[in-house]
C-alpha cells in the first residue's frame, strides 16, 4: 500500500483542488512515495484496544451562546476588503449552475 502511482497522485490532486504540471508530478511522485513508505512503519505498532487521541488537554465539546458581539464583528467593508471581485457587498464567484438549455 505504500507505492504511489501517477494516477493516485492525480486523483489526490483533484480531491485537493490542485492543478499539477507534468514536471511537478515527476518531482512529487518520488518525494511523496518516500514519505508514504516512511510513515507506513506505523503498521508495526500494536494499537489493539488503544483509543485514538484528537485532543490532548481533555476538553470535549466547548459551547458558547450564539450571540452577535458587535465589539468583535467586522464591518462589510473590512470583511470584503481582501477581494476586488465584489458586487453589491457580496463576493463574486464562478457560476455553479448553468442556464437551462431546453427552454
Amino acid at each position: 500500500m505504500s507505492k504511489l502511482t501517477k494516477d493516485e497522485v492525480l486523483h489526490i490532486a483533484k480531491l485537493a483542488q490542485l492543478t499539477l504540471s507534468d514536471s511537478e508530478i515527476k518531482k512529487f511522485l518520488p518525494q511523496l512515495t518516500s514519505v508514504v513508505e516512511y510513515i507506513g512503519q506505523l503498521k508495526e505498532v500494536n494499537t489493539e484496544g488503544v483509543e485514538p487521541t484528537a485532543q490532548v488537554t481533555g476538553l470535549t465539546n466547548v459551547f458558547r451562546q450564539d450571540e452577535v458581539d458587535s465589539a468583535n464583528t467586522l464591518s462589510v467593508d473590512d470583511a470584503t476588503g481582501g477581494s476586488d471581485k465584489l458586487y453589491n457587498g457580496y463576493f463574486k464567484v464562478g457560476a455553479i449552475l448553468a442556464d437551462r438549455s431546453d427552454k
Partner: protein, 431 residues
C-alpha cells in the same frame, strides 16, 4: 531600524518593515505614564500572525498582498503591554519547514553563519534576535518551529502547553498541534512575554485558563534513553552532558526514563499534521482574499496531497486512525514519565545548524530534523529551548527541557538556575 536597513537585504529576515507604525508607537510610549510590562520593547511577529493594517503573507505567494482587518490576540496583547512592532518576520510558507527555505520570499540566512539555516519554520523570528534587530519575537510551534530557531540562534524560546495561549488570528497549520509562543535572549524575557500573551480570550475554544504551578524547591529531571542514541551529534551530546553536571551541582537529581514509542513520533506526526494542513488550507480558494491555489509552493502542495491521501477512502484507517492511536500511546508514555520526574532534558535537533540547500531536495531528510521536537507537540506538553554554548565551528548549541502540561513556571525556574550557574550572557551575531 538602522540595523534592519543595513542588514535585511542580505539576511532576508523581515518581509515587511512597519517603520511608520513603530515611530508612532514609540512616541506614544514616550508620553505614556503607565507602567507596562513591555513598554518600548521592540518586537517582530512571525508573518503568520495577523496584524491589522499591516501585510501578512504566511510566507506564501497566496497571501502576498493580504492586509488583515484585525490583529491576532497575541499581537494585541503585546501591543497593549507596550510592545513596539518593527515588522513581519520571514518564515517557511504556512510554517511548513525546518529551515526557512520553504518561504516563497526566499530563505533567511543565519546571522551566526550566512551559509547556514537559522532553523525553521520561525526563521525570521530567530534571526531577528541574533541579528540584534528585536528584543523579543513571536513564533508558532507545530513540531519544533519555535524551538529550532532558538537552538540555531543562541536564544531562549518557549513552546507552551497546548491551549495555554490563544491562537486567534494566527493562520492555522495543524490545529491539534499548533502552539503560539515567544523567543527572546533570556529566560526572563521569554517568561515576561508568555505571561502577557497567555490565557483565554473567548476566541480559541482550546485555551484552558490554568493556575500557575508553584515553583518546586527540588527537581528530578528525566533523561529519555531513546533520545540519546546513535546519530546524535557528539558536540550536542557533550553540551547536554555538561548541562546535566551543572544541574547536578545545583542539587537537581537525574534519572533515566523511557519513551518507547519515540521512534514512531515523526511517522505519527507526518500523518496527523498533513491531514490537518489539507483541511486548514482548504479555505484558501482565492475568492474572499488572496490568490488562487495555483500560487501554493511545492511544500504546501506536498503536504496538502499527503494529508488528502491519508484521509482518503481506503487509507483513512491504515494511516490517520492508526496515527491517532499511536498518539495516545505517546501521550500515555509521557504521562507515565512525569509520574517519575518533574521534567525531561533532550536535544532540540540531531545536529547544529545545517547548510542552506543541504536538505531541500529530500523532504524526508528535512522532516527528520524534527525527530526530537515531535513528542512535545503530539502530547501537548511545554518545552523550553535553552542555549548552552557554541560548537567548534562557532555555531550555537543548546537543549530543551520538557515538562508536564502547564508546568511553564518550573521550566523557567530550571532555565534560570542553569543560566545563573554558568553566568550566562546573551550574545548577538551582528553589532
Amino acid at each position: 531600524m538602522e540595523r534592519i536597513n543595513k542588514y535585511n537585504k542580505e539576511y532576508n529576515i523581515f518581509l515587511t518593515v512597519s517603520e511608520e507604525d513603530a515611530y508612532k508607537k514609540a512616541k506614544e510610549i514616550d508620553k505614556s505614564e503607565k507602567k507596562l510590562p513591555l513598554a518600548g520593547v521592540v518586537t517582530g511577529y512571525k508573518d503568520i500572525f495577523l496584524t491589522k493594517g499591516i501585510r501578512t503573507t504566511a510566507g506564501s505567494k497566496v497571501l502576498e498582498g493580504y492586509i488583515p482587518p484585525y490583529s491576532a490576540t497575541a499581537v494585541k496583547r503585546i501591543e497593549e503591554a507596550g510592545g513596539i512592532i518593527l515588522g513581519k518576520l520571514n518564515c517557511d510558507a504556512w510554517a511548513h519547514g525546518s529551515s526557512g527555505e520553504n518561504s516563497d520570499f526566499g530563505p533567511t540566512k543565519n546571522p551566526w553563519n550566512r551559509g547556514c539555516t537559522p532553523g525553521g519554520s520561525s526563521s525570521g523570528s530567530g534571526a531577528a534576535l541574533s541579528a540584534n534587530m528585536c528584543l523579543v519575537t513571536t513564533g508558532t510551534d507545530t513540531c519544533g518551529s519555535i524551538r529550532l530557531p532558538a537552538n540555531y540562534g543562541y536564544l531562549v524560546s518557549l513552546k507552551p502547553t497546548y491551549g495555554a495561549v490563544s491562537r486567534y488570528g494566527v493562520i492555522a497549520m495543524a490545529s491539534s498541534l499548533d502552539s503560539v509562543g515567544p523567543l527572546g535572549h533570556t529566560v526572563g524575557d521569554v517568561e515576561t512575554v508568555f505571561n502577557v500573551i497567555k490565557g483565554g480570550d473567548g476566541h480559541d475554544s482550546t485555551v484552558v485558563d490554568h493556575e500557575a504551578q508553584a515553583i518546586k524547591s527540588k527537581y528530578k529531571i528525566g533523561i529519555p534513553k531513546e533520545f540519546f542514541v546513535d546519530g546524535i551529534d557528539p558536540e550536542i551530546q557533550k553540551t547536554i552532558d555538561e548541562a546535566v553536571k551543572i544541574f547536578k551541582s545545583e542539587g537537581v537529581e537525574f534519572k533515566e526514563v523511557s519513551l518507547p514509542s519515540t521512534k514512531y513520533a515523526i511517522s505519527c506526526y507526518y500523518i496527523i499534521q498533513p491531514a490537518e494542513v489539507s483541511s486548514n488550507l482548504g479555505r484558501f480558494d482565492g475568492i474572499r482574499y488572496g490568490n488562487s491555489r495555483e500560487a501554493f509552493g511545492d511544500e504546501a502542495k506536498r503536504r496538502i496531497m499527503l494529508g488528502t491521501y491519508v484521509l482518503s477512502s481506503g487509507y483513512y484507517e491504515a494511516y490517520y486512525l492508526t496515527a491517532m492511536k499511536v498518539r495516545t500511546k505517546i501521550c500515555q508514555e509521557t504521562e507515565k514519565v512525569f509520574g517519575e520526574v518533574d521534567a525531561m532534558i533532550a536535544p532540540v535537533a540531531p545536529t547544529p545548524p545545517f547548510n542552506l540547500g543541504e536538505k531541500t531536495s529530500d523532504p524526508l531528510s528535512m522532516y527528520l530534523t524534527d525527530i526530537y521536537a515531535a513528542t512535545a507537540n503530539l502530547s501537548g506538553i511545554p518545552s523550553l529551548a535553552i542555549p548552552s554554548g557554541f560548537s567548534k565551528k562557532g555555531l550555537p548549541l543548546g537543549f530543551q527541557l520538557m515538562g508536564p502540561r502547564f508546568s511553564e513556571n518550573n521550566l523557567f525556574d530550571l532555565g534560570k538556575k542553569y543560566h545563573d550557574a554558568i553566568s550566562f550572557e546573551p550574545k548577538v551575531a551582528l553589532k
